[in-house]
Symmetry: C2
Subunit: 218 residues, 2 copies
Amino acid sequence: MVIELNASVTESNDRDADAIRKEMKEKGSLLINLMSSPGSGKTTLLSRTITDLKGDLNIAVMEADIASDVDAVKIENLGATSIQAHTDGMCHMDAGMTKRALDSMGYDGKDLIFLENVGNLICPAEFDTGAGLKVMILSVPEGDDKPLKYPLMFEQSDALVITKMDTLEYFDFDVEKCKERAKRLNPDISIFPVSAKTGQGMDSFETWLKEQVGIWKS
Amino acid sequence: MVIELNASVTESNDRDADAIRKEMKEKGSLLINLMSSPGSGKTTLLSRTITDLKGDLNIAVMEADIASDVDAVKIENLGATSIQAHTDGMCHMDAGMTKRALDSMGYDGKDLIFLENVGNLICPAEFDTGAGLKVMILSVPEGDDKPLKYPLMFEQSDALVITKMDTLEYFDFDVEKCKERAKRLNPDISIFPVSAKTGQGMDSFETWLKEQVGIWKS
């Protein structure tokens, strides 16, 4: 299923975002805004997470993209509820767009809903989508200097997942230096180095997700 | 040297861009707008290109970033003229910002000037900077599906450089499929698979750059 979205007419994005958060809290559905560069492995991470957690949590995924529906097709093949949102050229999702995607998909009884934002390390960090948590991905091939260059997303995120850890030996990426740079911007950020391909580190990330769903519902 | 920029007040970005192009044509300086995702290897590609071509061309680089000056420092260490432009949170460069960066840096006698745009596969494609040519980078770890997801930049670019070719065996990246997808969007695009690390393919890209400078000056 594909939905065409364009920027919300309302100027009160923050108010709309708060309304979404309130509703999701009442329903006990944790909405996570998942942000990263293009090609950092968002869909691969989600695919593994859905497969690993499907006995524990009822999960849905909203895929936001400028064009194409390749990601939603992958997620649907795993048996999870999914919707593809086209952003009409927009480089980020806002609260109004998120609400329209939620309504089109339907989300009753979902414990955990991922909004896979448009692949972009800049603009998505500037718009509140109404999510309860923000998670960002940085992949090893992108380099450990990204917190220096794109500080806002690191400042805003509750968790940082460092993906493609299985490729560490081929790239000049210093995990400790990256963690230190992220923590300097955001001392409270949780950091999970993982490989969705080999499974390395997925346990800690998935345990954290289950804890966060528990906290959200309490 | 660092310059702080913010969005141009003028609404006539296209007119400003045309004025830059006209002036650069008169001066015989080819300005190239270099665009890509964060971490695709723009600075590494430029470093290798400058080192290889410094006997043939007088090259300058304008580094646009939201924060940090790590890239400009790298370029200056190669002995090339360089300036770091901070975009004040902006996710792209426009024509007015480009002009202010050019004027602050100085560009008399330069054959080739690279504008290393903000790392972003979306917004920079929407703004004419006044460059004579647009070159985009896609790195192997980002995946061969990017033309499907971010078509505008592929449509707009004169050349596509596929970087990090030395990592091909570790990623599921089909070079032919990627080329075919890019050519479907833009039949005239020149495509250069390279590794700036091993030097593979750099010759063809650099020969193309020298040809383009010759055409621009004629």
